[in-house]
C-alpha cells in the first residue's frame, strides 16, 4: 500500500490475505486517477450534467433560527450516494472490471450502484438482507428496472451487516473481474479515504455557498452518521476552520436501552468489515444487533475517520431518537415544503436543539437525501 490507511489508531486493512492485492490495485487506481486531469474532467462532467451538481444551499424560511440545508436530496438518485458511485464506477472502468457488486440496507446505495451500472455498462449484483428485501420492495424494483440483480441474503440477521459479509465473500472469489462498490466511508483501506475524497464536494460547495449567502462561515456543521460518508464529505473542507462539527447518530428507542445504532456513543473499539473502529458488540466481541427507524443509520460499526475525529475531539457526536427524527421530518415538511430522508431528519433534529440553545447561531445541516423511500413508513408511524 502507498498510504498508511490509518486515522490515528483507527482504520487499516483487516481482510483475508486473498483480497489484499485487489485493495492494492484499487488504491493504485485511485491515487493515479487523483493525478489525472482527464479523470477529474470526466467525473466533473457526470456530476454536473448527469447528476445535477452543484446542489443548492437553502436557508430555512419558517423553521426557527438560522438553519441552512445542503440539498443532497436534490441530487440525481435522491441522495448524496450518487457522488461517490460515479467516482468508483469510473475507477472500476479504469481497472478494466466488468462487474459491480454492492451491499445495501434500505436500498439507497443499491439504487445508486444500479444507476452507475446502467450508465457505465456493468453487470451489477446487489446483496441485500432478505428482511430488507421484504421491507423495501419498491427499491428492489427500482434496482431491477435499471438492470441490476438483487440477491437476498439469508445468513445472520438478514440485514445490512449480513449483506456486507456476503458481498465480501463474493469479492474474495471474483475480484479479478469485479469491483466491490462499497457504499460508505467505512471498510478496509482505501475505501474510507477514497469515499471521503469523492464526497468532499458536498462540503466544498456548501462552504463557498454559505460564505456567499451569509457572508461568513457557519457556527456549526451538522450531519447524520451511519457509516458516515455524507458527514465526512460535509466536514472535510471545514477541518481547519473554527467551526463546530457535529455528527448525529441514531439513538433509536433511547441510548439507555439496546435498540439504537449509536456506535460512537455506545460502542467500543474493535475490528469489523476491514477496519479498526468503534463497534457495538458484547464483551466477547460478538457484533450486536442494532436498531433505528432509518435503515441507513442501522449499522453496528462506523467509518474509522469518525472514530478518530471523536477521540481527537475535532468533531462531537450526539444522538437523536426515532421520535425526535420523526418530529423533525414532520416539521421540515410542514414548514419548508421539503420531505427529507429519515437519516437526514436526525441531523435536522439536532440542529433544532442547537437553535433552541443559541437562537443566533448559523447552522449548516447536511440534508443527505429525500424522503420518498420513507413516506409509507412515515404514514404508518404518524397515523
Amino acid at each position: 500500500m502507498r498510504l498508511s490507511g490509518r486515522f490515528g489508531r483507527f482504520g487499516g486493512c483487516y481482510v483475508p490475505e486473498i483480497l489484499v492485492p485487489a485493495l492494492e490495485q484499487l488504491e493504485g487506481a485511485f491515487l493515479d486517477a487523483q493525478d489525472d486531469s482527464a479523470f477529474a474532467a470526466e467525473l466533473n462532467d457526470l456530476l454536473t450534467n448527469y447528476a445535477g451538481r452543484p446542489t443548492p444551499l437553502t436557508r430555512c424560511r419558517n423553521l426557527p433560527g438560522n438553519i441552512y440545508l445542503k440539498r443532497e436530496d436534490l441530487l440525481h438518485g435522491g441522495a448524496h450516494k450518487t457522488n461517490q458511485v460515479l467516482g468508483q464506477g469510473l475507477l472500476a472502468k479504469r481497472m478494466g472490471k466488468t462487474r459491480l457488486i454492492a451491499e445495501t440496507g434500505a436500498g439507497q446505495h443499491g439504487v445508486a450502484t444500479a444507476i452507475v451500472g446502467s450508465l457505465l455498462g456493468f453487470e451489477t449484483v446487489i446483496y441485500m438482507g432478505a428482511e430488507d428485501v421484504e421491507r423495501q420492495k419498491l427499491n428492489v424494483f427500482r434496482m431491477e428496472l435499471m438492470g441490476a440483480r438483487v440477491v437476498p441474503v439469508e445468513s445472520g440477521g438478514r440485514t445490512l451487516k449480513d449483506a456486507i459479509n456476503e458481498a465480501l465473500r463474493d469479492w474474495a472469489a471474483s475480484f479479478e473481474t469485479t469491483h466491490y462498490l462499497l457504499g460508505t466511508a467505512a471498510g478496509p483501506h482505501p475505501f474510507p479515504t477514497m469515499v471521503r475524497e469523492f464526497q468532499r464536494i458536498i462540503g466544498r460547495e456548501a462552504r463557498a455557498q454559505i460564505q456567499e449567502q451569509l457572508g461568513k462561515l457557519p457556527d456549526a456543521v451538522v450531519a447524520c452518521v451511519g457509516g458516515g460518508s455524507n458527514a465526512i464529505g460535509l466536514f472535510a473542507d471545514f477541518f481547519d476552520d473554527p467551526v463546530r462539527l457535529v455528527g448525529v447518530e441514531a439513538a433509536g428507542k433511547g441510548l439507555n436501552g439496546e435498540e439504537h445504532g449509536a456506535t460512537l456513543l455506545r460502542g467500543t473499539p474493535g475490528i469489523l468489515h476491514g477496519a479498526e473502529t468503534y463497534i457495538l458488540q458484547d464483551s466477547d466481541g460478538q457484533i450486536a444487533d442494532t436498531w433505528s427507524v432509518s435503515a441507513g443509520l442501522d449499522y453496528p460499526a462506523v467509518g474509522p475517520e469518525h472514530a478518530h475525529l471523536k477521540d481527537s475531539g475535532r468533531a462531537e457526536y450526539v444522538g437523536a431518537t426515532d421520535a425526535e427524527a420523526l418530529a423533525a421530518f414532520k416539521a421540515l415538511a410542514e414548514n419548508e415544503g421539503i420531505i427529507c430522508a429519515f437519516e437526514s431528519a436526525h441531523a435536522l433534529a439536532h440542529a433544532l436543539k442547537l437553535t433552541e440553545a443559541e437562537p443566533d447561531g448559523a447552522i449548516l445541516v447536511g440534508l443527505s437525501g429525500r424522503g420518498d423511500k420513507d413516506v409509507a413508513q412515515a404514514q404508518a408511524l404518524l397515523a
Partner: protein, 265 residues
C-alpha cells in the same frame, strides 16, 4: 521442539492430516465429544474455530456452525475450556485456533489465555500479513505460534514476510473464494514452490479437501499436509460422527500412496 515440529518429524514424510471443527457446535458437550473423536480417528493436528458472529472468510457450512454455537450461548471462555480439556486428554496433538480479529482484540489477554489453555497456534482469518506484526509480537511473548495465509495471488514480497513472521505451518489457499466452495482437486504447486523458496513454514492446504483424491492431489504438489474443514463440519452436523471420514482421508496421506498414485498417472 514445538508440537508442530514434533508432528512433522513423527510423520517422517507422510502428509499431516488436520481436522477442523467449530467449538461449541452445536453445544459444548457434543463438541467436546467430537474433538476427542477426531483425534482418536487419526487426525494428526486439530484446528478449532472460535465462533464469530460475522465470519466473512467462511462459506455457508462453517457460518452455520458458528451460528449454532452462538445460538446455544457458547462464550469465548467456554471455547478455551474445551481446548484445555482436549489438551489434558491428548498431550502431543498440535491444536490450532482459527478465528477473527474482533474475537482476539475484544478479550484482553485472549492470546495469553489461548496459550495457557494449550493451543499451539493462532490464525486470524481477517488479519493479512500487512497487519500481522502487532499480533505476532504478542503471540511470541505468549508462546503461541502465528499462522499466516498464502494464496496464489500473494506476491513474493509477502511470502517473504510470511517466512519471517510466522511459524507452525503456512495455511495455503488453493484459489480465490471462501471456505467450502472450492472446485475439487485444484491445488497450485507453483505456490508451494514459491513458499519453499521464501523459506516459509511447512505449507498445508486448507481449502477444498473432502475426498481421498483431494488429499492426494494436494500432497502431490509437495504440500506437507491438508486441513479438512467444511466436509467434517457438514458430516458432524448431519450424522453426528466424522470418524469414518477422518479415517478415510487420513489413510490417503501416506507418502507411498501419494508417490505411487502420482507415478501411475
Amino acid at each position: 521442539m514445538s508440537r508442530y515440529a514434533a508432528m512433522f518429524d513423527r510423520l517422517n514424510g507422510d502428509g499431516a492430516f488436520g481436522a477442523f471443527l467449530m467449538l461449541g457446535d452445536p453445544d459444548l458437550e457434543t463438541s467436546a465429544r467430537h474433538l476427542n473423536e477426531l483425534v482418536e480417528a487419526g487426525a494428526d493436528m486439530i484446528e478449532v474455530g472460535i465462533p464469530f458472529s460475522d465470519p466473512v472468510a467462511d462459506g455457508p457450512v462453517i457460518q452455520a456452525a458458528a451460528q449454532r454455537a452462538l445460538a446455544s450461548g457458547v462464550r469465548v471462555g467456554d471455547c478455551l475450556d474445551l481446548i484445555s480439556a482436549l489438551r489434558a486428554r491428548h498431550s502431543a496433538v498440535p491444536i490450532g485456533i482459527l478465528t477473527y480479529a474482533n474475537i482476539v482484540v475484544a478479550r484482553s489477554g485472549f492470546i495469553r489465555d489461548s496459550s495457557e489453555a494449550g493451543a499451539d497456534s493462532l490464525l486470524i482469518a481477517d488479519v493479512p500479513t500487512l497487519e500481522a506484526e502487532p499480533f505476532v509480537l504478542e503471540m511470541e511473548q505468549a508462546g503461541i505460534e502465528p499462522v499466516l495465509i498464502a494464496a496464489p495471488n500473494t506476491p513474493d514480497a509477502t511470502l517473504e514476510r510470511i517466512a519471517s513472521l510466522s511459524k507452525a505451518y503456512t495455511y495455503c489457499v488453493s484459489r480465490a473464494g471462501i471456505t467450502g466452495t472450492h472446485a475439487a482437486g485444484t491445488f497450485d504447486s507453483k505456490l508451494i514452490g514459491r513458499l519453499e523458496a521464501a523459506g516459509a513454514p511447512p505449507p498445508i492446504f486448507g481449502f477444498g479437501i473432502s475426498t481421498p483424491n483431494h488429499v492426494q492431489a494436494a500432497l502431490a504438489t509437495g504440500a506437507r499436509g491438508v486441513i479438512c474443514g467444511s466436509a467434517i463440519v457438514d458430516r458432524l452436523s448431519r450424522s453426528g460422527s466424522a470418524r469414518e471420514l477422518v479415517g478415510l482421508l487420513k489413510s490417503a496421506t501416506s507418502n507411498d500412496k501419494v508417490r505411487n498414485d502420482s507415478g501411475a498417472q
